[in-house]
């Protein structure tokens, strides 16, 4: 069997078109790797479908007709996207046996573009988590190990932990993720990958199981920046089935390859030098700044004064929306039900047994902040602060083209750590949450490694719908990073 491990999507596609190997060979290679993997990346595999899809792609290629953008490329699908006829769980017991009869727009776009879906990737329950330890289907293991303590399994980050880990472990070529407060960027950073959260409204949320509707946004996790552009191209669409979907024209994302970062202004927010920011990360940040300088970019200091309020604001708005979004899981219509003769009991038992602790914690927070007497002090105030955070970015972008920050305050940590205090876990999102609240596009690209050989991601935040600039900036990091 050929070793397909280090191929990117565009090279693979070239080889497929030249018939150097078939999609079926490629697909079987990944299936084999998934079967041998013990990282727990997939909740449900769809190998039979994948083989059929690969054969279909090979047919198209051999006829040289109707060849689509991602023809024959095997990918993983986060188990948050409803897939027709394929179990979709959102990592929860409450949807353990839920099989949708409809396809999410994002997965549909990918399938229509010829992607081969290998299976549904593991994730934090309802995307609530930063370590992929809240999944009902067990935690996911990061394939990377610390060079000092290589016996300890590390978290892949979350919530798209299964997607990140499966790409890092070469179980698929790329995977979909969803990002509410950092769920694409943080695991991409922890697994040494590229993770792109597009502008809010760029990818349709139809058929994507909702966590926090005003923040949720689908995006790719890939090995390279170019792969991210190819995946994003396919995933993006205006969708009349999603009222928050954007009608802005979708550019050709590969155009980022011709985008020169020379003369562009790179903003450095002073407020992102947060307490507890790991010194290795500070160093990589500095290195990356120099790298931009060397390539002719101008570095400008900017201020995002409300940054310190972003995390508490996020942890009010997201749970508030979740408390309503998850009310539908009541045991009445589908999913898990704990039977009882009494309706109230049925509700309570179903939800008590169907949801895990982290989900319950957030539902309680969300219910609380929306309650009579607390709404103004919490939810309403959070909405106001969210506006201020958006305004911060707006004025910052008058002075710069993109903003460069680290993705996370720390590198991947051992499974089991940060489990006792939820706040400690929430702090993982401190650098990714502001862009989410403002609906801005942001990419995480590995820029360096720490002393234990663990990857450190840098985040580039762009203006609304300016994915091209952050792809270009990400490409520069990818090209010139020192490893």
């Amino acid at each position: 069997m050929i070793d397909f491990k280090n191929l990117d999507i565009s090279t693979t596609k070239e080889c497929l078109l030249k018939k150097e190997f078939s999609s079926l060979e490629l697909t079987k290679f990944f299936i084999d790797r998934i079967e041998k993997s013990d990282l727990n990346c997939f909740i449900t595999n769809t190998f039979e479908n994948a083989i059929e899809m690969a054969k279909e792609s090979d047919k198209k290629i051999s006829r040289n007709r109707e060849i689509r953008d991602l023809e024959g490329i095997p990918i993983g699908m986060k188990d948050l996207f409803c897939t027709k006829g394929v179990r979709t769980t959102a990592g929860s017991k409450i949807l353990e046996n839920f099989i949708p009869f409809y396809e999410s727009t994002v997965s549909n776009n990918l399938i229509n573009d010829g992607a081969v879906i290998l299976g549904k990737t593991n994730m934090d329950e309802f995307a609530m988590g930063s370590a992929n330890t809240t999944s009902f289907f067990g935690n996911v293991i990061n394939p990377l190990k610390s060079s000092e303590e290589d016996t300890k399994d590390l978290v892949p980050g979350g919530s798209s932990g299964g997607s990140a880990s499966s790409v890092a472990a070469n179980l698929c070529m790329a995977a979909t993720g969803s990002d509410t407060g950092g769920s694409i960027r943080q695991p991409a950073s922890f697994c040494g990958l590229v993770g792109l959260k597009p502008s809010y409204g760029r990818c349709s949320r139809f058929g994507m199981i909702a966590f926090a509707s005003s923040l949720d946004q689908a995006g790719p996790i890939t090995k390279t920046v170019k792969d991210a552009a190819l995946m994003l191209q396919s995933m993006s669409s205006y969708d009349e089935k999603d009222s928050t979907s954007s009608r802005k024209p979708i550019p050709q994302y590969l155009d980022f390859l011709n985008f020169d970062i020379k003369g562009k202004k790179i903003g450095l927010p002073t407020e992102y030098k947060v307490e507890g920011l790991n010194s290795d990360i500070v160093k990589v940040w500095d290195d990356t700044i120099n790298l931009f300088k060397k390539n002719g970019a101008e570095i400008v200091n900017i201020s995002l004064p409300h940054t310190s309020f972003a995390l508490p604001t996020y942890y009010i708005i997201a749970p508030a929306e979740a408390s309503a979004n998850l009310a539908r899981y009541d045991g009445v219509k589908y999913g898990f039900r704990e039977n009882s003769d009494d309706l109230e009991d049925m509700y309570e038992l179903t939800r008590a047994k169907g949801f895990g602790d982290e989900v319950k914690r957030r539902l309680m927070i969300g219910t609380y902040v929306l309650s009579a007497g607390y709404y103004d002090a919490y939810y309403l105030k959070a909405l106001k602060v969210r506006q201020l955070i958006s305004d911060d970015f707006k004025s910052a972008f008058e002075k710069c083209d993109v903003i460069l920050t680290p993705t996370t305050p720390n590198v991947a940590f051992p499974i089991g750590e940060k489990q006792k205090d939820p706040i400690e876990m929430y702090l993982n999102d401190v650098l990714t949450v502001p862009a989410s609240l403002a609906g801005l596009p942001a990419i995480s690209v590995t820029a360096g490694k720490n002393s234990m050989n663990l990857p450190i991601g840098m985040q580039v935040i762009g203006k609304p719908f300016d994915e091209i600039s952050i792809l270009a900036a990400g490409k520069l990091i990818e090209e010139y990073r020192g490893f």
Partner: protein, 483 residues
């Protein structure tokens, strides 16, 4: 104030406001393309949103928005150019999303009014607001002794909640208000107003106070679905409140249900059990924006409204206020009337429509619209009265049978042998024989007892077995008596 309740301690005044839920007449639901057809097989008209499936998203039905604007304009109300959809959170098996999408702080329609007829003349009833919301599904408890069933066909249908000011002061006024509102909704076609099918139902807020004093504590009677029940519920509830207050007890603010079987209201839930609905803006739906052009276009397309039509009927057809009012209550009835009155004496037409036709419909318990009776059918009969072929009385006698036959009016009376005696000499002979039998009375009449004229007419009619043409009898009798 004409309506007061007599209590032990004196008179009490009744203060009420109504919340009318009107189902919008639309082929599809407020946020989905599912059909709203009434009477379909259970759960056959359900889209993803209507059943709360994971990943389902609402998309506003612009037609329903137009209907709400139209309704607002017809109620002289302000159309809010920006309104917001909120989630109203509560658990119930027939509420599949776990929340109802409604409008809370920013409804689509603001202040307006409508005018009702009362014993003391016209009265203006304030409209506080109209908002759009989803209807819930239906729970069915009577088909199985152990299980309840849910029918989601109604789930997601568009409702307008039309909230009045507390301007209503008697059960009759409440009834007039609902009738007038229903007439307007039917006229503009935004709601069928069919209370039996529940597409118009009212929550009645009732309170009592001593005249001139502060407003009392109110109770809300939920979901009353006929005008008769509204009146009964108000009568019972206001008396209950007066009795409690006069016995030194307090009214507790609560939600009550009206039981049509015994005409009483009973507690549904107290204030302490009242829900905290935790309203917050639905993040799946952007603010609803309406521009001036849209409002102007809808305004220009409004049909003649009941009040305008009533004014016109009174002038054009010289109708009494009461007659005009009942004719304009139903658009179909008013058109039917106009078709008949076009070439005929409106006096005879109005009496035939409002007396004979209405009592026939009432007896058959059917709406004119559903009765298949054509105006031409009634017109042909009226023409026979007008040209003297049959008498009014004869026509009344055969009316019911005539309505149910397929025969032409002239053929039908021929077949029935109904004919008016219009031969002058025959009538003269009849009158002479009556006068000869009552010589003394003729003398009394001639001495000035004018009232006896009617007696003579009656005797002649009796003798002719009702067949004599009354006008001719009058005329000939006058001639003969004056000789």
């Amino acid at each position: 104030m004409s309506y007061l309740i007599d209590g032990k301690t004196g008179e009490w005044e009744l203060v009420m406001g109504l919340e009318v839920h009107a189902q919008i007449k639309s082929n599809s639901k407020l946020f989905s393309k599912a059909s709203t057809f009434w009477g379909g097989k259970p759960n056959s008209q359900v889209e993803l949103v209507d059943s709360g499936m994971p990943g389902a998203l609402p998309v506003i039905n612009e037609y329903c928005v137009d209907q709400a604007i139209k309704t607002g304009l017809s109620l002289n109300a302000k159309i809010n150019k920006k309104s917001i959809f909120d989630r109203k959170n509560y658990f119930y098996p027939d509420l599949p999303q776990g929340y109802q999408i409604s409008q809370f702080e920013h409804p689509i329609v603001g202040n307006g009014f409508l005018v009702i007829e009362t014993e003391d003349g016209q009265k203006r009833i304030g409209i506080t607001r109209i908002h759009l919301e989803q209807d819930a599904g239906k729970s069915i408890h009577d088909q199985d002794h152990q299980n309840s069933f849910i029918d989601l066909n109604r789930s997601g249908c568009a409702l307008m909640e039309i909230v009045s000011e507390p301007d209503l002061n008697s059960p009759q006024e409440a009834a007039q208000y609902v009738k007038k509102l229903r007439a307007i909704l039917r006229c503009i076609g935004s709601c069928d107003g069919n209370m039996e099918r529940g597409n118009l139902r009212a929550d009645v807020n009732v309170s009592v106070r001593k005249p001139g004093q502060e407003l009392g504590t109110r109770c809300e009677i939920k979901n009353v679905n006929s005008i008769k029940f509204i009146q009964q519920a108000i009568e019972y509830e206001s008396r209950r409140q007066v009795e409690l207050l006069e016995n030194g007890q307090n009214i507790s603010q609560e939600t009550r249900l009206f039981d049509p079987n015994n005409g009483e209201t009973r507690t549904m839930r107290g204030k302490e059990e009242s829900h905290d609905y935790r309203y917050f803006p639905d993040p799946d739906l952007p603010p609803l924006l309406i521009n001036d052009d849209r409002i102007e276009k809808i305004k220009s397309e409004l049909p003649e409204l009941p009040d305008e039509k009533k004014k016109r009927f009174k002038e054009q057809y010289k109708l009494k206020d009461y007659d005009a009012e009942i004719l304009v209550e139903d658009q179909f009835v008013s058109s039917f009337f106009e078709e008949l009155a076009e070439k005929r004496d409106s006096k005879i037409v109005v009496s035939w429509v409002t007396v004979e036709l209405f009592s026939y419909l009432k007896k058959k318990d059917i709406q004119l619209q559903d009765s298949k009776i054509k105006s031409k059918k009634i017109g042909n009969l009226l023409d026979l009265i007008i040209n003297g072929s049959i008498s009014n009385r004869q026509a009344k006698e055969i009316f019911e049978e005539y309505i149910e036959t397929d025969l032409e009016a002239s053929d039908f009376i021929k077949k029935k042998g109904v004919k008016q005696l219009s031969d002058k000499s025959e009538i003269e002979a009849l009158i002479k024989s009556v006068l000869q039998k009552n010589v003394e009375m003729v003398n009394d009449y001639k001495k000035g007892k004018d009232k006896l004229f009617g007696f003579f007419v009656g005797q002649v009619m009796k003798k002719s077995k009702g067949k004599a043409n009354p006008q001719l009898v009058n005329q000939v009798l006058k001639d003969l008596l004056s000789k």
